[in-house]
Each structure stands twice: as C-alpha cells, then as structure tokens.
C-alpha cells in the first residue's frame, strides 16, 4: 500500500479533474477492457501537444504548472 504524500495526492486529483473537464477523460474509462493508465497518458499527451509542452504522457512539473494556470472552461477537444 504505497503511502501517497499529500501534495502528490492533490496533484493526482488536479490532473484527473483537468483531463476530465477538458479532454473527456472518464467518459470512456468505464469500459472494462480499457487500460486506464494508457488512456490517461494519451490524454496527457494530447494536452501537452496543445500547450506546446514536452510530450511525455506524464504529469511532470511543467505540465502541472500549465494545468494550474487560470483558463477557459471550454474543453480543448471535441466531445
């Protein structure tokens, strides 16, 4: 049972909420045979592409920083 430090947990929530709001994460996570990690990485890559960040598929500090900037509420990708 890995102990997640507070900050880390908060970051995970931030990333999840962000991808849910703006990259339709979650809607297709229900399907049983979906590899959650890969779907998340794919969404992160989409977001990093749009923001001109290094495309890593990970929620690295630079990506987190971009996620925490104030932004428009319209999703970046079509439903």
């Amino acid at each position: 049972f890995p102990v997640i430090q507070d900050g880390l947990q908060k970051n995970v929530k931030t990333v999840w909420k962000y991808l849910e709001n703006y990259y339709n994460l979650g809607k297709n996570m229900q399907a049983k045979n979906v590899n959650g990690k890969e779907v998340m990485a794919e969404k992160l890559r989409q977001m990093q592409q749009l923001f001109g960040l290094k495309v890593t598929g990970n929620s690295d500090p630079e990506t987190l920083r971009a996620m925490k900037k104030p932004r428009c509420g319209v999703p970046d990708v079509a439903p």
Binding site: N21, Q49, G52, K68, P70, R71, C72, G73, V74, A78
Partner: protein
C-alpha cells in the same frame, strides 16, 4: 491552424447580442464598454457585424452565473475555470457565461473582462482553442495589460470561417518590418554586446554574428515588463538593465525583474518631483556615469555612489554640441554615443566632443 470539430459557424453575418446581468465588481458602463470592444476585435477582421439589442434575446447572450447554473459546466469560484461559451447555434448556442463569484477587472488584475470576453466570443463564433501561445484562443489566461492586437493565428482561423473584413484596417504592429523607413523606437539598449530595439510589444535584437536581426514579442523574454517603454539602458558593471515607463523604473537581470521594482524614479535616482518621465538614458561604461536626457536638459547619475552628480541638470546642447533636439534614444558603442532622433541616428564622438556621422536608423538591420 486547426478546424473546429464539425466546423460550426453562423450562416448570417449580422448578429445581435444582449447582456442579461452584470458583475458587482464593475460599473454597468465599464462592462458594456468591455463587451463592445471585445466584439470589435472580431468585427475588425471579418464581415461580421454585432448589434446590441435590449428588448429581445440576442443571438449571443452574455450573462453572469453562480455555481451550477443548468449547463454541464458548473462554476466554483476557483481560478481554474471562470468563463465558458457555446459554439454557434440556437438557444444556448453562442452564449457566453461568466462566473459571478470571480473578480472581474478592467486593468491587469485577474480577470480582465475585455480579454476573457474576446476569447469566449471566439468560441461563440465557432473557434476551438489554439496551440499558439500568443493566440487569443490559447486556453490559458495570459492577459498582461499590453496593447492588445489580435494574433495572426486567430485571424487565419476566423477568416477561414467567415472570410476577411470588407474594409480591412491596418492592425497596429501585427508584424514589425525593421526595414520600413521612418521607423522610430520606444527604447534602444545595448546588452552584453547586442543592440536591442524596442517597439510597442516587439523587440529587434541585433547580434553581431547573426546575418539577420531577431524579432519577437517582449513577453517572450520579459513577461513582467510593460510594453511601450519611454527609455532603457544597460548598467554593464552589474549586468543589469533598467527600463522606464512614466515615472517608474524596472531593474532587470536577464529575464528577472529585481525585487522591489518598479520603483519611482524620484526615490530611486533622486529626480525632482517635476520630472515625470525620461526620454533616453545611457551609462558610460568606463566611468559608470549614467546620462538621463529629459526634454532639452540632462542629468548625470553616478552608479557607483548611487547618487546624482551635483550641478545638474544642464543644457544638452551646451555639452553635446549639435544635439539640440529631443533625444528619443541613446546608446554607447566604443568611444561614441549614438543619439537617435526620430528615424535618424547621430554618432557623437566622446573624445572630440562633436558629431562625426549621421545615418538612417535602419542601417543596423542590413536592409
């Protein structure tokens, strides 16, 4: 540029808008003006026209909401998500929603209502987000109270939907051509051997080993500086740049504005209160003396003792014979001060104390 999914657009060019309610942070007049200016951003570059209506609901309705307000995008008063809009269509289509619990401003404090409205109207007209950081349609809030100019990516995308404006107006400084004659500059500095020219929100860096100058937006290097400086100079002894706008001075090292700046030029340099702005400034590398030119007078400041030299101000023309006009900018190269007045530069030799050459300013740019 990307095309929005399904390519939604309005099929008519004359659109109406109505304002449903207001934010408590700004007066009605300020809200209405900010919204009208935001519509003008798009009507300036397309055949679209926008008319405000009062009795009936407009094609585009702008309104402020708190929390869950019946669509899929609940506001929560946080800085994450403070406005959204709907793509063209009937009913909710085209509408813009703002978070009532956010602070809305008409200056560079978060969040500037004009800037957010201009962005959301991009969605109302059919644009999705852009991945061009300089674009208005970039998803993050990047307002910094500079002179707003619509980005070329935004123009390309909206004209792909509606075509160009029937009476195109020349957008100020959308592109900066250093070779057009008659160009003048807000400020000119040397920096580690380069010469950097500032104009509106752009800089032109002349680097000796590059065949062409580098042109880009000031924000790229100095996001925390205002554009349209009055003057600037390099204090090479401490590897610092000083920028002036009005009666404020910013001290910068590389990209970073030093703590405590901007400061008043009166308190930092000891200018009398009647000096409210600086025309030009240059620090003489050998002596560490900085010359400030204001109208037809100049002051001399000692960077080492950090105090104004006694006996100033003096008449510029008296000590710099031939320089008897307003100094727009000045830099030092070797034994010369280069004085810039409008689009001409005058090379003043510090040893012989006279002007020994003059030429057009754009000789710096290999035109």
């Amino acid at each position: 540029y990307a095309i929005t999914h399904n390519n939604p657009r309005w099929t008519k060019t004359h659109l109406t808008y109505s304002i449903l309610n207001y934010t408590p942070y700004l007066s009605k007049a300020v809200v209405e003006d900010a919204i009208a200016r935001a519509f003008r951003v798009w009507s300036d570059v397309t055949p679209l026209t926008f008319q405000r209506v009062f009795e009936e609901e407009g094609d585009i309705v702008l309104s402020f909401h708190r929390g869950d307000h019946g669509d899929l995008y609940t506001f929560d008063g946080s800085k994450y998500h403070f406005a959204h809009a709907f793509l063209p269509g009937l009913g909710l289509g085209g509408n813009v929603h703002y978070d009532l619990d956010q602070k809305w401003t008409d200056n560079n404090e978060d969040f500037n209502l004009f800037y957010v409205t201009a962005h959301e109207l991009g969605h109302s007209l059919g644009l999705s987000h852009s991945n061009d950081e300089e674009a208005l349609m970039f998803p993050s809030y990047t307002w910094s109270n500079k002179d707003f100019v619509l980005n070329q990516d935004d123009i390309n995308r909206i004209q792909a939907l509606y075509g160009p404006s029937p009476n195109p107006i020349q957008l100020t400084d959308a592109t900066l051509d250093p070779c057009n004659s008659g160009l003048t500059f807000d400020a000119i500095i040397t920096y580690r051997g380069e010469v950097i020219f500032f104009k509106d929100r752009f800089y032109i860096r002349v680097i000796s080993f590059l065949p062409e100058p580098l042109i880009d937006v000031i924000d790229l290097i100095w996001p925390n500086l205002p554009g349209k400086f009055d003057a600037a100079y390099e204090v090479s002894g401490v590897d610092e740049l000083r920028f002036f706008k009005g009666s404020k001075v910013w001290a910068v090292q590389e990209q970073n504005v030093l703590e405590g700046f901007p400061m008043d030029i009166q308190s930092f340099f000891g200018f009398p209160s009647n000096v409210t702005n600086i025309d030009a400034a240059v620090c003489e590398e050998e002596t560490g003396k900085t010359y400030f030119f204001v109208d037809h007078m100049y002051w001399r400041y000692d960077e080492n003792t950090r105090s104004m030299d006694p006996g100033y101000p003096r008449l510029i023309a008296e000590d710099f014979p031939g320089i008897d006009y307003k100094v727009d900018d000045v830099i030092q190269k070797e034994d010369n001060f280069y004085f810039f007045h409008q689009s001409i530069q005058y090379r003043f030799n510090l040893k012989t104390r006279r002007i020994d050459d003059s030429s057009d300013i754009n000789t710096w740019f290999n035109c």
